[in-house]
C-alpha cells in the first residue's frame, strides 16, 4: 500500500518507450534523476532476467539498483523487483509495475513503485517539508490496504 504512482504522456509509440525502458542501450540513454552519466546498464527483459543500472549524479554520488523481471509483455507492460544495491540487509525488495497504453499522441505510461515500506529503513532527515499531514492521511485513506 505504500506506493508512488506517476502517469505521463509521451509522444512516442509504446514499442519505442518499452525499448527505452528495458534495453541496456535505452536505459543508458536516460536513467537517473539528473544529467549525470549512466556508468553501467544491464538488462535481460524476460521473466527471471536480471536488471542492473549504476549512475553518477551531478553531486558526484554514485547509486546502483538491481532487480529481476517478473512480467514482460512487450509493448504493453512489464514488472520487476527493485532495490538499491547495498540495501541487501535492510528489508526486502520493492516492486515496479509499468503499463504502456497506446493513445493518439503516443503512449500513456503508468509507473508504479510499490511495496516501498519493505525498504523503509532509511529515513530522510533534514529535508525541507511543509505540512502535508492532511495529504498523507488522504493518501492512506484512499490507498486500500
Amino acid at each position: 500500500m505504500t506506493s508512488v504512482t506517476l502517469v505521463r504522456r509521451i509522444a512516442a509509440r509504446p514499442a519505442i518507450v518499452f525499448d527505452a525502458m528495458t534495453t541496456a542501450e535505452g536505459i543508458a540513454a536516460w536513467w537517473g534523476p539528473d544529467e549525470g552519466p549512466v556508468l553501467l546498464a544491464e538488462s535481460d527483459p524476460r521473466v527471471g532476467g536480471r536488471f542492473r543500472v549504476r549512475f553518477r549524479m551531478l553531486d558526484d554520488s554514485e547509486h546502483e539498483s538491481s532487480g529481476e523481471y517478473l512480467q514482460v509483455e512487450k509493448p504493453e507492460r512489464f514488472a520487476m523487483t527493485w532495490r538499491w544495491t547495498g540495501d541487501e540487509d535492510e528489508g526486502g525488495h520493492s516492486r515496479i509495475d509499468v503499463e504502456l497504453r497506446a493513445i493518439e499522441e503516443g503512449t500513456e505510461i503508468t509507473f508504479v513503485h510499490s511495496r516501498l515500506a519493505s525498504e523503509a529503513t532509511r529515513v530522510s532527515h533534514g529535508e525541507g517539508w511543509t505540512g502535508a499531514l492532511d495529504k498523507l492521511v488522504r493518501h492512506f485513506e484512499t490507498a486500500a490496504a
Partner: protein, 125 residues
C-alpha cells in the same frame, strides 16, 4: 529529531481502523478513548489495542487525567514517512522526464527513417 522507524509507521498505517482514528485526531486535535471507540463496531479493548500500535509507532500520545485518557496526534512520524515517499516521487518524476525526452527523440528518428523508406519505395515503382 527522533528517528522513528518508517516500517513501524507504515505497518501502523495499514489498518483502516487506525487510519480512521488518525484522521479523526487530525480533525479534532484530541479525543478521549471512549469518544474514539464510539463510531466503531468493535469493543473498547480492541480500540485500546489499536491505540497501543499507534503509540508504539509514535503516531499518538496518551495522557491520563483522573479516569479519562486523552489521545493526541503526533504528526512527526507521518511527516517523515511522507518526506520519504516524496523523495521517491521526485526521483522517478525526474527520471520519467528524461525518458520522455529520449523516447520522443527516438520516435522522431523512427518516423524520419520510415518516411525515407516510403519515399524510396515510391521512387522504385
Amino acid at each position: 529529531m527522533v528517528n522513528y522507524s518508517l516500517d513501524r509507521t507504515f505497518a501502523a498505517l495499514t489498518d483502516p481502523t487506525r487510519r480512521a482514528i488518525l484522521a479523526r485526531l487530525e480533525a479534532e486535535e484530541q479525543a478521549s478513548v471512549s469518544d474514539l471507540a464510539q463510531p466503531f463496531a468493535i469493543k473498547l479493548p480492541a480500540v485500546m489495542k489499536h491505540l497501543d500500535v499507534l503509540d508504539e509507532a509514535g503516531l499518538i500520545s496518551r495522557s491520563k487525567a483522573g479516569r479519562t485518557v486523552t489521545v493526541r496526534l503526533n504528526p512527526e512520524p507521518m511527516r517523515e514517512a511522507m518526506a520519504w515517499l516524496q523523495r521517491y516521487e521526485r526521483f522517478w518524476s525526474k527520471g520519467l522526464e528524461r525518458l520522455t525526452a529520449h523516447a520522443e527523440a527516438q520516435e522522431r528518428a523512427a518516423r524520419a527513417a520510415e518516411a525515407k523508406a516510403a519515399k524510396a519505395r515510391g521512387e522504385g515503382q
